[in-house]
Symmetry: C2
Subunit: 619 residues, 2 copies
């Protein structure tokens, strides 16, 4: 993910892998709903879906019957894995063999001139900014057979080498185990013949013979997770293992009264796992860690690959912003706190979720309340609250970042009466949380589009100008454009050097590599005339002008559903700044005069390389 | 399309093309909404969409300003090209260069062992069923350079060679010109720079300098159709032509006051066209014609490729049904009337649609009424009626076939009180019309699916058992399964010879190659227990059991939206027979006793090779 992003944005990447080829079988396989949005935003989703992955919409819980005595298992409930209230585009988990996912990324890297160098490994590295301010990192690489060696000088080094990270060890960064309990897991991919009715669903099965988790896979396969040992066992040994036959025999006992036979076993592995988080993600903001190198946890929630994706994405755009001369180097310091907090939430969630279902079986009314779209009148009980939080978090939509220079809050240096504080303004958009999905109609070709997908993952901040009703905001929109084009504004200060010669076909970055601007009117498409209603600066983004005229079930009474979903005034609109990774930065009122752009200058000025908004002279 | 279908179903295909390579530029480019459904049903849609085609959602009409005198053009209205009332899955026209579409089909042919033989041409053929009942057709083929020749014996010969069909000429089949007016058209694909605001929409532009049609294309291209001459012109000459420069100059005049410049011209062609239909599509039901060989018309409605697809599809499944021993050879006689009727409608539509907009400019209330989802209280005026019919027809959703053995009607040999006559029973499904789209939840994996897409284009009839409420229909469902499994039933009479050894992974044809059965309950998914609620015969199609529990905006108050959309009783259901090409054959009540299967036996028995339903002994 990191190499793919940076290679696309023009950086030179050396990507090494100590394996001779991409993952042939096994390993991770779960792509969560929000990760699928991200892959689509990168243009990689259709290549993933072409492999016809399994899709998990619901999770089934199986337990011993309450009456007891006669053994066996019964279904105690099924739950949407990504219920309606989340408003996900793809409300399901996508299950596909990791190797296929890797190959999609590798193919994209190749398109951008990067060949994965394999099987090579890292033998050592140093990082010294004083000695070499431009390329402070020196890395020793070696072919795994010891046949060849090379030394590389780099601006950055990223270790995504998994739980036994060499780089983390060299940096002497320790791991804190959140949960003292360690486990030994068995995992088996194969094709089965069974009369167990939920074999194509994700299932958590508890029986008096043990526990199993069922994950459906592509090509009629199924993955079974079996807990083989726990450090709470009296005879615990992290090296405890079990053969394929033993695990199959155990699965047969657990699934009784249903039968199961294997037609084929594609992959089988046993591994010990502890729930741990690396103490630091970086020491010097030149050598970074991410993925399993930073956090290890049980595979049950299907979060490993997804969390690693987001680690890499978070770092990628920040490195780009720094190296392209836009952001101050200090934004790299936000990587560790933003991503470590998510890892901590993940680990505590893992325990919480397990407890949730062991405490008491949920009632039918809980299921209805927890998975429905609307708000229930009654106060939500603890069970429903936890369930909802869990769904939001595991789907990826609930992942959020705390306040910092990028994520506005009341204590941010940018202070203005036009900045909308979600705590008081009632906007549904919250800095540090994901931008909200909405459908709109593109004015230029009348295509119905997913607004949140309209700007590809291009490393730019996304400025969504919700322009309300054209008759109400005409002046404010003109003032916005005029102040954006002033010298020293957040927008003009980072004009492309080649802005004069950019092709008229350039859709996303006609003026600046750091911003893409979208304008959304609260009006039917046919009533919007770009040449009349849109100031030239915004009209240059002719493919990014939209009509907010699509009905949405989540806000059935709204006239302008996207405005309403964001919590913005349907007539007066507002300006939403979205970070390159899709998280909201700040939300500002769209007002006449200069206050709107002044506020944006203050927001961006808190982390850009240039001072903004000081020079008020017209360009 | 014909070769692709038959190759997939196991037939040996010789496919020749007199061009050295697939279409490099130009030709057809419009895939209508219903054709996209069909491509998806064949698993070919994503390969098409990977080319990022343009999508036309609306059509804009431009005319000289009413005030007159000052010249120029103004937009007089825009219209949804596939309005909501049609309930299309993909309510847009997909525009993509024909060569890319061809290559998707060619790739699929190759997967099934068929190589297009090119550049080869046909030099002659004979057809004599008496002399050779099994392979009555003998065809002489030749390399276009005359280098090589071969003679092929075949069961069938299909001529899809376009307007100047050699096969049609050899058969001495004439063409009837519906519209005596002939035209000369110019067509130009290219990349332009323009301030014309609707360059990414489909536009019909009339000006005092002439008329143009604008069609957006992939890769920033645009296609312009320019009418160069008409046989109503005093100096008409079908050989009249115009250079690229002349057409560009003409386009510039027509688009005034907007400017247009060409950055690149990819393709340019001038061709005369008359509106004609071939008098016969076949003489002996061994040598067939389809596509432009049978019908030529103006390119304006974007119907050429789509009509050709449906010609081929219609013939493909009928040949398969005959050759596989299921249907009587007489069903081949339905090809010509079904498809010729559609061609006639297409030609008369072409004139009607043009007149529609020349008569009077539509009022705003017309636009609202014509494109809305709901039914308007007031009677529809002629304009709206014609517009709606036109949209339905051009989208492909309005194409229908008249009554015959395949499309039940009151005069069909199958007569039973349980057959639902749409004229009296109020069902929205009509024999000879397309099956209606609906969302349902698959029981086995909780996936939300498009029911109409669940059975791939496998050459089988699709039996949709709408099973209503399980508590109401338990007995009827049991009786249905029991009577289907009786010896001599429509279902049992065509059991696969290898039925005993079919893999348990076989989803669509476990028992018979001629039927795929889907069961849809009017109940929430979690309440359906397959082992309890579904008789074994139906339960064998474990991936084709669904819960009708998805809300649908078109029937907002329905408890079981799919049942409601079909016009079936939400508690009692009904059985819908859908032809392999997606058109409804017959709709039957789901009743206790044998009446339902008796009616199906009578329906199928009217065209199957075996007598059905006579033997009442249990298997």
């Amino acid at each position: 993910m990191l190499s793919t992003c940076l290679a696309r944005w023009g950086y030179k990447i050396k990507h090494i892998d100590n394996r001779a080829e991409p993952t042939p079988t096994g390993r991770a396989d779960g792509i969560q709903p929000r990760s699928l949005d991200l892959l689509r935003n990168m243009g990689l989703k259709s290549a993933i879906m072409a492999h016809k992955p399994a899709r998990v919409y619901e999770v089934a819980f199986w337990d011993p019957p309450k009456t007891g005595g006669q053994g066996g298992i019964v279904r105690t409930g099924t739950w949407a894995s990504c219920p309606n209230f989340i408003d996900a585009r793809y409300p399901f988990t996508t299950l596909l063999h990791q190797g296929m996912i890797e190959r999609v990324f590798i193919g994209d890297l190749q398109k951008n001139g990067v060949q994965v160098q394999r099987p090579w490994t890292i033998k050592g590295f140093t990082s010294d900014e004083k000695a070499n301010p431009e390329y402070p990192v020196e890395v020793q690489l070696e072919h795994v057979d010891g046949e060849a060696r090379e030394t590389v000088r780099a601006k950055y080094l990223f270790g995504g080498e998994g739980a036994r990270s060499f780089i983390r060890d060299q940096l002497k960064i320790g791991i804190t185990h959140k949960d003292p309990i360690a486990y030994v897991w068995g995992v088996m991919d194969g094709v089965v013949k069974t009369d167990f009715p939920d074999i194509k669903m994700k299932c958590t099965i508890h029986s008096e013979h043990g526990s199993i988790m069922v994950i459906p896979r592509e090509d009629n396969m199924v993955r079974l997770y079996i807990q083989i040992a726990s450090s709470t066992d009296p005879d615990f040994n992290p090296r405890k293992t079990a053969t394929v036959e033993e695990v199959q025999a155990s699965a047969k006992r657990i699934l009784q009264p249903y039968s199961i036979e294997w037609e084929r076993v594609e992959w089988y592995s046993v591994y010990p796992i502890g729930q741990g988080i690396s103490d630091k993600y970086t020491l010097d903001h030149r050598v970074f860690l991410g993925g399993d190198a930073c956090h290890t946890h049980s595979p049950k929630a299907g979060q490993g690959m997804n969390t690693a994706f987001l680690d890499a994405l978070n770092l990628a755009w920040k490195i780009h912003a720094v190296e392209a001369g836009f952001a101050d180097r200090s934004i790299l310091e936000t990587y560790e706190p933003e991503r470590k907090e998510v890892a901590e939430t993940l680990l505590s969630f893992d325990n919480k979720y397990a407890k949730l279902f062991s405490q008491r079986p949920p009632a039918a009314s809980d299921i209805a309340a927890a998975t429905s779209t609307g708000k229930t009148e009654e106060a939500e009980n603890e069970f429903i609250k936890t369930f909802k939080e869990s769904c939001a978090f595991t789907s990826g939509y609930g992942v959020f970042y705390k306040a910092n220079a990028l994520n506005w809050s009341a204590s941010h240096p940018a202070q203005s009466h036009v900045i909308l504080d979600p705590a008081t303004a009632g906007t549904r958009l919250q800095p540090g949380r994901l931008y909200i999905n909405s459908d709109v109609t593109r004015v230029t070709d009348a295509n119905v589009v997913h607004l949140e997908q309209e700007v590809p993952l291009n490393g730019s901040f996304r400025i969504f100008v919700f322009a309300g009703k054209p008759s109400v905001t005409a002046r404010a929109l003109k003032d916005l454009a005029a102040n954006m084009s002033r010298k020293g504004s957040f927008y003009s200060a980072y004009t492309r050097p080649d802005a004069e010669t950019v092709s008229h076909h350039e859709k996303h970055n006609p003026h600046s590599m750091f911003y893409t601007v979208c304008t959304v009117f609260s009006a039917p498409r046919a009533q919007i005339e770009i040449s009349r209603d849109v100031p030239a600066l915004l009209a240059r983004y002719v493919d990014h002008i939209y009509a907010d005229d699509r009905w949405d079930r989540h806000v059935p009474d709204a006239k302008a559903a996207a405005h309403a979903k964001m919590g913005l005034d349907e007539e007066r609109g507002g300006v939403v700044v979205v970070r390159p990774d899709g998280y909201v930065g700040v939300v500002v009122k769209l007002e006449e005069g200069s206050a709107t752009v002044d506020a944006l200058n203050a927001y961006f000025g808190s982390f850009t390389t240039k001072k903004l908004g000081e020079t008020q002279a017209q360009l």
